[in-house]
C-alpha cells in the first residue's frame, strides 16, 4: 500500500440527492468522503497448480476501515485479505453483506441485506468465482471484480461501510493491459465510504 488518497466523489452527488430535503431541513449536510486504497498487497499462498499443494503459506493482510490502514491481527481489524479471499473479524463481530448496485446510488443499507460474520465453514463474503466480489475468467485467466458488487461491512466499532473493489492487479491497470502471466496479482485497489455516526445512511 503506497498511497492513500481521499476522494471527494460523494460531494458531487450529495447536493443532488439531498436537494429536495435541504429546503426544509436547516441542518447542514456533511458530505461523506470515499476513501481510495491503492495496491494493498495481499498475495495468495504459493500453490503448485498441478497438484494443489501449498508450497509457501503467506499471511493475511489485516485492515482497519476506521483507521484506514493495515494493522496487526491483534489490533482492531475489520477485514483481511489474502489472494481472492476476504475475511471479516468475527471475534469483534464484524459482519458483511454482498449487494448489487451502483456504489454512489447505495445511500442506505438495504433492508434485505443479510449481514453475516465468518464461521468455521463459511465466509461472510463468499469466495469462488461469481459468488462474492470477483469473477475468474478461465478464457483469459484473469480475476475481475464483478461490476456492481458492493460489499457492506459493519465495522468492529459498529459503523456501516460500503466498499467497491476496483482491481486485483498492481497499479489498477485497465483490463486490456492485464496480462495474467506478467501483471502482479493480489494487489487490491478499492474505495470505501464509512458512516461514522452509526446510522445506516451513507
Amino acid at each position: 500500500m503506497k498511497t492513500i488518497q481521499k476522494l471527494l466523489l460523494s460531494t458531487a452527488f450529495a447536493p443532488l440527492l439531498f436537494a429536495c430535503e435541504s429546503n426544509n431541513n436547516p441542518d447542514p449536510v456533511i458530505p461523506l468522503e470515499a476513501t481510495l486504497v491503492e495496491d494493498l498487497a495481499a498475495p495468495n499462498d504459493d500453490i503448485d497448480r498441478s497438484t494443489g499443494e501449498i508450497l509457501e503459506e503467506r499471511p493475511f493482510q489485516f485492515f482497519s476501515l476506521e483507521q484506514n490502514s493495515l494493522v496487526t491481527e491483534q489490533q482492531d481489524w475489520d477485514i483481511a485479505f489474502k489472494g481472492t479471499t476476504i475475511r471479516v473479524n468475527s471475534t469483534k463481530n464484524v459482519q458483511a453483506a454482498v449487494v448489487n448496485g451502483i456504489f454512489e446510488e447505495i445511500t442506505e443499507v438495504p433492508a434485505n441485506a443479510t449481514f453475516e460474520s465468518d464461521t468455521e465453514t463459511s465466509f461472510a463474503i463468499p469466495t469462488g468465482s461469481g459468488n462474492g466480489w470477483y469473477n475468474y475468467n478461465s478464457a483469459t485467466f484473469t480475476v475481475t471484480p464483478i461490476p456492481g458488487r458492493v460489499l457492506l461491512v459493519q465495522t468492529a466499532d459498529g459503523n456501516y461501510t460500503k466498499i467497491e473493489i476496483l482491481s486485483y492487479y498492481q497499479g489498477n491497470p485497465p483490463v486490456e493491459e492485464i496480462d495474467p502471466r506478467t501483471t502482479p496479482s493480489g494487489y487490491y485497489t478499492f474505495r470505501y465510504l464509512l458512516q461514522p455516526d452509526g446510522s445506516t445512511r451513507f
Binding site: 470477483y134 469473477n135 475468467n137 478464457a139 484473469t142 483490463v175
Partner: protein, 766 residues
C-alpha cells in the same frame, strides 16, 4: 480397354517440361477432358461451319482442317468456343459439367433421393469441383469458405451453423452419423477430403428424421463411388508447416459388384502462435484414414452395400507446469481412433416399394497421457471409449406418383467408459419416424415429418417438421419450413465425475450430483448447499423451434440468387452451475437446464457469370444472437459494467452483443477464371469474418464492452489448377495470403502455401 499408365510416373518426375515442349512431342493432337481430367469419348469438335468431328475413345482428336473458330461440345457439358489461335495453343480442352442442378440430388434432406429444386428447405450442395477449388485437405477448410458457416476452435475444429455450436450439428458420412465428440465438438479435422464426391449442407433442424443433434442442421459427406471397370489414382499434396498428404483411391467394378478403397495419410508439424510459451498452438500430428466400400446386387431386387472405415490419429506435444523456479516439463501424447462398419440391404420388390435395412456400428476412443520429461514418470492419463450401434429399417412407399411415404423404425445402443466416468455406462433408445412427401400440384412441394424418440435417459421426445415450397415461376420458388429440434444431454452432462486438484473444484454429471454432494458432505467439505441435488430432477433434452424461409431465384442460366432467413428459439439449454459451496471457497458444479437462447439471421448467396470464362459469386450472412436470461437481467438492472474512468454503470440493451464467438456479419466473394492459353483454372476467394465477442473482460460475464471483441478479418485464398494430358491434375495456391493471425483464432495459423498433384495410374472403361 485396360491400360497401366506407368508412363505417368515418368511424367511425374520430369514435371518441369514446359507445355510447349509437351505440345511438340504430341504434335497437334488434342484431348477433350472433363474437370476430373478424364477423357470425354463422346465429345464433338466443329471448325467453322464444317461437319462436327467426333473424338476417339480416349478423348483425342487430330484436326485435319483449319478455320477461324472452333466449337467443342459434349452432352451434359458446357460448350466452349475458341479462336483458331487458342485451339492451336492448347493440348487439351477441359469441358465444364453443366451447372444445371441435374446432378444435384440430395439424400440427407428427406432420406430419399430428391433433386435440390424440389426441396422445400434450404440446402447447399458442394460438388467435387467446389471442394477441390478450396485446396483444402481437411473438412474444416472446405466448410469455412461457405456462407453462414464458421469454424470455431474449441477442443477441435467445430462447425458453427445458424449461430449454433458444433454440439447441435449432426455430421453424416454417406448418410450415417459420425460419433466421437470432445466437450461437444465434433472435430472436422478428422475428415480427409481427398475422396469426397459432394457435401450436402442442410440448414435448420432435422430432428424430425434424425433425432438428437440435428438442431442447427446436418452436414452429409458423400464419398466417391467408382463407376468404371477399374481405376486407381494416387495423389500427393504438400503445404506449409511441413504438412504432407499422400492418398490412394482405387476401384473395381465387375458385373454386379463394385468396390472402392481409399487410403489417406496426413502429417503436419503444427504451428505456434505464442512462441514465448512452452507448447504449440497446434501440436504436430499424423492421421491415417482407410475406407472400403463394397456395393453389389445379390439379385435384381436386392442390393447389398458394406462400408468400413478406420481412422487413427496421434499427436505429441509439450506442456509446462508449475511456476517460477518450480517448473516441470511434460511430454504429451494423444491418440484418437475411430472405426465404423455399416452394412446396408436394399430390397425393391416392386417399383412402388423400397425396403432398406441399415446397421451401423461405431467405436471411438481417445487416450491422452502426460509424462514428466525429467524421469518419464506418468503425470496423468485420461481414456475415453465410446461405442454406438444403430439398426434401422426404412420403408419407402410410393402411394401415388406425387406422394411418397417413408416410415423408419430404429433402435440404438450407446456405451461409454472413461477415466472421468464411473463404471461402464449404457444408454438405450428406440425411435420411429414418418415422412410424407407430396406434390399437390405442379407448383407445390410439401414435406412433412414426425419423429418419436424414446430414450433411457431423457424419456420421450416428439419432433415434428413441415416444409413447403411454392414455385411462383420456372425461375423463382419460395420455401418455408417450421420444425422442432432437440439435443439429448451428453455423457459429460450426465456422468462426469471430475475434480480439479489444483484449484479444488468439483464437477458432477446430473446423474451423479446427489451422490457426489453426499460424499463431499461426509468428508466435511461442504460449506453451503446452494441447490439441493435431490431437487435437481432429471436433466431434460435441449429443445428448439425453428422457422426457415427464403427463395431460390434462377435469374439467368448462370445467374442466381438464394436467400434464407431463420430464427431458432432454443430452450432448456444445459449449463454448468454451482450447486454447493465448499469450505475451501471453491464450488461444486452440476448441469442444469437453465438457458434460453435465440439465434436469427439472413443468409444470401448470389452467383453471376461476368464473362464466358469469368464467374463471380458472393455470400453474406447476418447473425443476431441473444441469451434471453441476460436480456431479462439487463432490463431489471442486474448487470453492471465499468467505463474507462472505472465508474460503475448499468448495462443497457444497446451494450449487449449477444453470444460470444458469433460474428454479426460475415461473407465471401469468389472469382473463378478459366484461362484458356495455359489451360489453368483460377479460384480466388476472399472470406470475411466480422468482429466477434472473444471473452469477457469487465467481469460481468456478458458481451457488452468494445474491448471484449476480436477484430474481423479477411482471408484471401487462391487456388490455381490445371489438368494435364492423361488426366494428371496439378494445383498450387495459398490460404490466408495476407497472413493475418490473431490469438483470438487459434485455428488460424497464418499464411499457408500448398502444391499438389493427382495422377491416375489405372484407368479402364467398359
Amino acid at each position: 480397354m485396360f491400360r497401366f499408365n506407368l508412363i505417368k510416373l515418368i511424367l511425374l518426375l520430369s514435371f518441369t517440361i514446359s507445355a510447349e515442349a509437351l505440345a511438340a512431342i504430341q504434335g497437334d493432337e488434342k484431348m477433350i477432358l472433363d474437370q476430373q481430367g478424364k477423357p470425354i469419348p463422346f465429345a464433338l469438335v466443329k471448325v467453322d461451319q464444317q461437319k462436327p468431328m467426333p473424338v476417339d475413345q480416349s478423348g483425342q482428336i487430330q484436326t485435319t482442317v483449319s478455320g477461324d473458330q472452333v466449337i467443342i461440345f459434349a452432352m451434359g457439358y458446357e460448350t466452349i468456343k475458341l479462336s483458331w489461335e487458342e485451339w492451336v495453343a492448347l493440348d487439351e480442352i477441359i469441358l465444364e459439367e453443366k451447372t444445371e442442378n441435374l446432378d444435384q440430388v440430395v439424400v440427407s434432406a428427406t432420406r430419399t433421393e430428391r433433386s435440390v429444386e424440389d426441396l422445400p428447405m434450404p440446402v447447399t450442395v458442394l460438388n467435387s469441383q467446389k471442394i477441390q477449388e478450396t485446396g483444402g485437405m481437411r473438412l474444416s477448410e472446405i466448410l469455412r469458405e461457405q456462407t453462414g458457416l464458421q469454424i470455431a476452435s474449441d477442443h477441435g475444429a467445430g462447425l458453427q451453423m445458424q449461430g449454433l455450436d458444433s454440439d447441435y450439428i449432426l455430421i453424416l458420412l454417406d448418410g450415417e452419423p459420425l460419433i466421437g465428440r470432445t466437450a461437444g465438438t465434433f472435430d472436422l479435422d478428422r475428415i480427409s477430403v481427398s475422396n469426397i464426391e459432394r457435401i450436402e449442407i442442410l440448414r435448420g433442424p432435422s430432428s424430425a428424421i434424425y433425432g438428437s443433434e440435428a438442431m442447427a442442421g446436418v452436414v452429409n459427406i458423400i464419398t466417391k463411388n467408382n463407376k468404371e471397370q477399374s481405376q486407381a489414382t494416387v495423389a500427393l499434396r504438400h503445404r506449409s508447416f511441413n504438412s504432407w498428404n499422400p492418398s490412394l483411391e482405387a476401384g473395381i467394378t465387375q458385373k454386379n459388384w463394385s468396390s472402392d478403397i481409399f487410403i489417406d495419410h496426413f502429417r503436419t508439424d503444427g504451428f505456434d502462435l505464442t512462441p514465448e510459451t512452452v507448447g504449440q498452438t497446434q501440436n504436430p500430428y499424423q492421421a491415417t484414414t482407410g475406407q472400403l466400400k463394397i456395393r453389389g446386387k445379390i439379385s435384381p431386387k436386392l442390393d447389398l452395400s458394406l462400408f468400413g472405415r478406420g481412422y487413427l490419429e496421434n499427436s505429441t506435444g509439450q506442456l509446462q507446469i508449475g511456476r517460477d523456479e518450480n517448473t516441470e516439463l511434460l511430454d504429451l501424447s494423444n491418440n484418437r481412433e475411430d472405426f465404423n462398419f455399416n452394412p446396408t440391404l436394399r430390397f425393391k420388390p416392386h417399383e412402388n416399394w423400397l425396403f432398406t435395412l441399415r446397421g451401423m456400428s461405431s467405436w471411438f476412443t481417445t487416450q491422452s497421457s502426460s509424462r514428466y520429461q525429467s524421469d518419464g514418470l506418468l503425470f496423468d492419463q485420461q481414456d475415453f471409449s465410446q461405442f454406438y450401434h444403430r439398426t434401422e429399417f426404412q420403408t419407402d412407399y410410393q402411394i401415388r406418383p406425387n406422394q411418397l411415404l417413408t416410415l423408419g423404425l430404429g433402435q440404438l445402443v450407446e456405451t461409454v467408459e472413461a477415466t472421468r466416468y464411473e463404471d461402464k455406462n449404457r444408454f438405450d433408445a428406440g425411435y420411429l419416424f414418418l415422412q410424407h412427401q407430396w406434390d399437390p400440384g405442379q407448383k407445390i412441394n410439401i414435406v412433412s415429418g414426425l419423429r418419436a424418440d424414446l430414450h433411457s435417459q431423457y424419456g420421450k421426445r416428439l419432433s415434428p417438421k413441415i416444409s413447403g415450397q411454392y414455385r411462383i415461376s420456372d425461375k423463382f420458388s419460395w420455401q418455408a419450413s417450421i420444425g422442432a429440434g432437440f439435443k439429448a444431454p451428453d455423457f459429460r452432462q450426465l456422468l462426469l465425475n471430475f475434480n480439479n486438484a489444483a484449484s479444488g473444484y468439483y464437477v458432477f454429471g446430473a446423474n451423479l450430483a446427489e451422490e457426489g454432494i453426499a460424499r463431499l458432505e461426509e468428508q466435511g467439505l461442504v460449506a453451503q448447499i446452494l441447490f439441493a441435488p435431490e431437487n435437481l430432477g432429471q436433466l431434460q433434452a435441449e429443445t428448439s423451434w425453428a422457422l426457415n424461409s427464403g427463395f431460390r431465384w434462377q435469374i439467368q442460366e448462370k445467374t442466381s440468387l438464394q436467400l434464407n432467413a431463420f430464427r431458432n428459439t432454443i430452450d432448456n439449454l444445459i449449463e454448468a452451475a454451482p450447486i454447493a459451496q465448499l469450505v475451501t471457497g471453491q464450488n461444486a458444479f452440476s448441469y442444469f437446464n437453465i438457458r434460453s437462447v435465440v439465434t436469427q439471421g439472413i443468409e444470401l448467396d448470389a452467383s453471376f457469370q461476368l464473362a464466358p470464362k469469368v464467374s463471380l459469386s458472393a455470400g453474406y450472412a447476418f447473425l443476431d444472437t441473444r441469451d434471453q436470461e441476460v436480456l431479462e437481467g439487463i432490463d431489471s438492472g442486474e448487470f453492471f459494467k465499468r467505463n474507462s474512468q472505472n465508474q460503475t454503470q448499468r448495462v443497457v440493451r444497446s451494450d449487449y452483443g449477444g453470444l460470444f464467438n458469433r460474428s454479426r456479419h460475415s461473407g465471401n466473394f469468389k472469382i473463378n477464371y478459366q484461362e484458356n492459353l495455359t489451360g489453368t483454372n483460377w479460384a480466388l476467394r476472399a472470406i470475411y469474418r466480422g468482429k466477434f465477442g472473444f471473452a469477457d473482460r469487465n467481469g460481468n460475464l456478458i458481451l457488452d464492452d468494445k474491448g471484449e471483441y476480436a477484430d474481423g478479418w479477411v482471408s484471401l485464398n487462391l487456388t490455381v489448377s490445371k489438368t494435364l494430358g492423361k488426366g494428371i491434375f496439378i494445383e498450387a495456391g495459398g490460404t490466408n495470403l495476407l497472413n493475418t493471425a490473431t490469438p483470438a483464432q487459434p485455428n488460424n495459423p497464418g499464411r499457408v502455401l500448398f502444391v499438389g498433384m493427382k495422377v491416375p495410374l489405372i484407368h479402364a472403361n467398359n
